[in-house]
């Protein structure tokens, strides 16, 4: 495993952050705290806040629906370790009422009529929830089928069109937390093809980059939407976002304009002024102009198509699955799975972005966010290309000559 070389002293960080109220932190301090401490230490540091909140606040009910997806985000949530999903529910006093992968119940019909009770029948359970409950958090995983021809029949569940189930659940929710690319932007379900119009799978608030094609817009639902995107979404991003909502640290809807970016994403996890590239452990190779042209090596992956300089996420500091690694560290170019237009805006994955001829669309989309954030994240990359002109000139450079060329610095 490669290491980024950034080793921070947890003790001193803990000292620095422990007297701060985490929701009163400014954005930079917050991301420093969450990013540097990691979710586990972060939660440990603020557990007194949470314990206090638990005694004051009623439980938060959670309904979790699955649309058109691959269950990858459910799996990603099960992979969360700090906290794990059980601790997450307990810590934030969440009552998970409905989750198809994790529940005892299933839909049961006898001669077409729902049978048994909500103890065993998920259709009765969901019906009861949607009739009685208001103000729950709706976790939406997966896209919403709107095809063919606006019928929504490409996804039917319990004899009902899923779009109708989603609509009812969305209207009664206090907030919709869309997790993963299928739910936030429709993702692979809306990738360009000759049948994409027929399929018509919609994201909750966006379909790809188009906010006019989100299903909430189509159905006229005004429940606030928080997007936690990525393919899959990182469990820390989801757990900390929902946790902050449950604790009242993020007030819905009042705080959302301040906390979310234009794609409805919490800025702390998708920082407008920070990209995957900046903390990449291969960054030193990039700065020295040393690039891989075939897979399996340890140098910069830019020429293999890495989209890290355009991807606004904290993967490089947070890491995945036990905070161990992330894509470029493991030898793969970043494929930009947090980009709103993924996968169309970031493929071909293994072709340098300028070569692919899509630089215009990408930079418009991504740098727009960056500029809004005050710092041009992609700018670091642009600067490098301007100053050094053509980084590819140094392709195939040896370690020895590289040292010489940059004045022996290493």
């Amino acid at each position: 495993m490669l290491h980024g070389g950034r080793r921070t002293d947890n003790e001193s960080l803990l000292e620095k952050f422990k007297n701060l109220d985490f929701m009163k932190m400014d954005r930079r301090t917050f991301i420093k705290a969450v990013g540097a401490l990691g979710a586990s230490l972060f939660l440990q540091t603020y557990k007194s806040d949470m314990a206090k909140a638990l005694s004051d606040l009623p439980e938060t009910k959670v309904v979790w629906l699955h649309g058109v997806m691959d269950s990858g985000c459910t799996i990603s949530m099960l992979d969360g370790g700090t906290p794990d999903i059980l601790e997450f529910l307990q810590l934030f006093n969440l009552n998970l009422l409905y989750q198809e992968v994790l529940m005892m119940q299933q839909g049961i019909f006898v001669d077409g009529k729902p049978a048994n009770t909500s103890d065993l029948n998920s259709e009765i359970l969901l019906e009861e929830i949607l009739e009685k409950e208001k103000g729950y958090v709706l976790i939406a995983e997966g896209a919403i089928a709107n095809g063919p021809h606006g019928s929504g029949k490409y996804m039917v569940l319990g004899g009902k069109i899923y779009r109708d189930i989603f609509e009812k659940a969305a209207r009664n929710a206090s907030v919709i937390v869309a997790i993963g690319q299928c739910a936030t932007h429709s993702g692979v379900n809306a990738a360009e093809s000759d049948i994409v119009g027929l399929l018509d799978h919609r994201g909750v608030a966006f379909t790809m980059e188009d906010s006019s094609k989100g299903i909430v817009d189509l159905l006229g639902i005004d429940t606030p939407v928080i997007n936690v995107n990525g393919c899959p979404a990182h469990p820390d991003w989801v757990f900390l976002t929902i946790g902050a909502v449950a604790l009242g640290k993020i007030k819905v809807p009042d705080d959302l304009p301040e906390v979310l970016d234009r794609w409805h994403r919490p800025k702390v996890f998708y920082p407008p002024d920070h990209t995957v590239h900046e903390n990449c452990p291969r960054r030193g190779y990039y700065d020295r102009g040393e690039f891989e042209t075939t897979v399996g090596g340890s140098k910069c992956l830019w020429k293999l198509g890495c989209k890290g300089p355009y991807s606004h996420a904290d993967c490089a500091t947070r890491h995945w699955n036990g905070h161990l690694s992330f894509c470029p560290q493991a030898g793969s170019p970043c494929i930009g799975c947090v980009q709103p237009g993924f996968p169309d805006s970031t493929r071909p994955f293994y072709v340098e972005i300028e070569d692919a001829g899509i630089v215009g669309t990408n930079l418009d989309t991504i740098a727009g966010v960056a500029i809004a954030g005050g710092l041009i994240a992609a700018g670091a990359h642009a600067l490098r290309r301007t100053v050094l002109k053509k980084p590819e000139e140094k392709e195939g450079i040896t370690e020895d000559t590289a040292s010489e060329e940059i004045g022996g610095e290493k």
Binding site: D70, D79, G81, L86, M103, V295, N321
Partner: protein
């Protein structure tokens, strides 16, 4: 006749419905397997760089992304003409990556998806009629397998001990995948020509440490004995009879200790496998061991007509001793778990990939040809909303899943099929034992035990690859250029945790994809009927079986159809995989693939 429908069948991947006709005495007389979503998938790979398929096709499934990325990488190796040059180290890394996912996926299925049905209140009502033994066994089942989300009469019960422990192990294995593959789900290790990451010595040691932790879980929760003891006496037994005798003898020993004090806890040696093995089966539990009661899971999920079912494996895990490169057609001797076809009478035949075809007679697709080989697949989805109707019975079109056949026969795929084809002693011995005693050799009990056993088959192989075969820092990929994919075709055969997985790809003169096709395990297991009206494996496994718990022990309860739930879930359904759309080569009849 009563119509009993389970919709949605939860605790699976994706959205799935089972519809049945049930007689007054509680026997299922007809069944339809309905895939409920049309997702659209392979179509968006067309006209794009074929190399992206290794990372995009894994998004078919978040539970088993690893096998899709490896199938795709295998197909790309073939497409680029480099399958015979992939470095051994790259192949071993594919094995390691896949093996961790096998163990994690099986653990998830056994404990998180299938296991909770053992905590169904119907078993409380049955078992507690049998005094202290029944009470104790019910206490174990509900205490071990209760799922995270539950309520009974307004009370929420804590998640089961085995359930929670398995979740932790699942996470640990995914941490291991992430260590060498960036993240999980949707790891980024696989690439045409090999893999993108060569592990360090530290990575390898860390993975060995993870697997050692998993082995501890297997010992204290799953088996109740050290994994080495179990493996030595089953997987490495000198004959199927010896493997079965070891297990029966072990269960007998445990019973001798426990029947006096009714202690069936983990700490008294009753791992989840022994508990299931003894109390799950009528034949093993009641007839061989003399227990007063069992869950009779061997009575469900079997096949009545051996001429209408087969068992198929494409083969998985490259044999490192074969060195660099491999044959993409997956001959039986090149994979650790071999390729092969076994007919319904358990006779083994050589696998021939040209015998695979897919049928759409009962699926919501439009094509003049109803049977096609996957390398010439056509899938035009039904676009008239009124035609999408799941309620019109077995004669109608009723699913988004196609019906694949091998030489015209529906096949079960998955751990049971693989270990039968492999001749794994315990599973082979159990199948024979059941067949000789008038049971279907494949049933819910043997299907679940095969999945448990495959964890024990994979662990020692995985440790061997880590300790002996993988080379830290060694070459993991052969260099490729996009131009090598010009006007080419590729086939990638592999095994997902839940069964045989094939990817087929073709490219045009500009090296861009013209066809992409995946035939996945749940397409095999959960299909609708084929052109001849032969029901799919899951449909055959339902028809003729009882609807309620322990063979309708408490009478017929249509409102708690555990028979359907056990059988349908026993195949580890993955509907996101099964319902994808396939290339519409009908528009390009000139681009029919040549079979390699």
């Amino acid at each position: 006749m009563v119509e009993v429908t389970v919709d949605p069948l939860s605790r699976i991947e994706g959205h799935y419905r089972i519809n049945t006709e049930v007689s007054a005495d509680g026997v299922i007389t007809d069944a339809q397997s309905n895939g409920l979503v049309f997702r659209g998938f392979e179509r968006f790979l067309q006209k794009h760089d074929p190399r992206d398929a290794a990372l995009l096709t894994m998004r078919i499934c978040g539970v088993c992304p690893v096998c899709h990325s490896i199938s795709a990488a295998n197909a790309l190796d073939d497409l680029f003409g480099v399958a015979d040059q992939v470095p051994k180290n790259g192949l071993v890394m594919r094995n390691i990556h896949q093996a961790m996912n096998f163990i994690a996926s099986h653990a998830a299925h056994i404990y998180i998806l299938w296991g909770p049905d053992l905590a169904n209140p119907a078993y409380r009502d049955i078992l507690t009629q049998y005094g202290n033994v029944g009470n104790a066994v019910w206490g174990e089942l509900s205490g071990r397998f209760m799922p995270l989300v539950n309520q009974f009469n307004g009370t929420h019960y804590p998640a089961g001990s085995s359930y929670v422990a398995a979740l932790r192990e699942f996470r640990r294995l995914h941490d291991g995948i992430s260590l060498v593959a960036g993240k999980m789900p949707h790891p980024v290790l696989q690439h045409v020509g090999g893999v993108v990451y060569s592990p360090t010595v530290a990575d390898i040691q860390q993975l060995i440490a993870y697997i050692s932790e998993t082995a501890k879980f297997v010992e204290s929760f799953t088996l109740g004995v050290p994994p080495e003891t179990w493996i030595e006496n089953t997987y490495r037994a000198s004959s199927p009879e010896k493997a079965v005798n070891f297990v029966i003898g072990h269960l007998q020993e445990l019973l001798n200790k426990s029947l006096t004090n009714n202690d069936f806890s983990h700490s008294s040696g009753w791992g989840d496998v022994p508990l299931f093995a003894a109390f799950g089966s009528e034949l093993v539990g009641e007839k061989l061991l003399g227990l007063p009661i069992s869950l009779k899971l061997d009575r469900g999920g079997g096949y009545k007509n051996p001429d209408q079912i087969g068992f198929l494996s494409y083969g998985v895990f490259f044999k490192p001793e074969k060195g660099d490169g491999y044959d993409p057609t997956s001959p039986a001797d090149s994979r650790v778990i071999p390729s092969g076809y076994m007919n319904g009478r358990l006779q083994l035949e050589k696998f021939d990939h040209t015998k695979i075809s897919e049928n759409i007679t009962h699926a919501f697709y439009i094509d003049q040809e109803e049977d096609r080989p996957p390398w010439n697949g056509v899938t035009e989805p039904e676009s008239n909303p009124d035609e999408i109707d799941y309620t019109r019975g077995s004669e109608s079109r009723y699913s988004w899943v196609k019906a694949p056949n091998y030489a015209g026969i529906p096949c079960e795929v998955g751990p049971l099929a693989r270990l039968l084809v492999m001749g794994e002693p315990l599973v082979t011995g159990l199948a024979k034992t059941f067949a000789e005693n008038g049971y279907s050799p494949a049933n819910n009990y043997t299907r679940m035990l095969a999945r448990m056993q495959e964890i024990l088959v994979v662990i020692p192989e995985l440790l061997k690859w880590l300790r002996q075969d993988v080379q830290a820092g060694g070459k993991v990929a052969v260099h490729t250029e996009l131009s090598m994919a010009k006007n080419s075709t590729g086939m990638g055969l592999w095994e997902a945790p839940r069964g045989a997985l094939g990817h087929w790809v073709a490219t045009g003169a500009n090296s861009m994809t013209t066809l992409y096709q995946a035939v996945v395990p749940s397409t095999w297991n959960l299909a609708p009927r084929n052109a001849q009206g032969i029901p799919s494996p899951v449909e055959q496994a339902l028809i003729g079986t009882k609807i309620s718990a322990a063979e309708n022990a408490l009478g017929v309860d249509y409102s708690n159809p555990l028979g359907i739930m056990h059988t349908a879930r026993s195949y580890d359904p993955c509907l996101a995989c099964a319902i994808h759309t396939i290339d519409k080569t009908g528009k390009h009849p000139d681009r029919i693939l040549k079979v390699v």
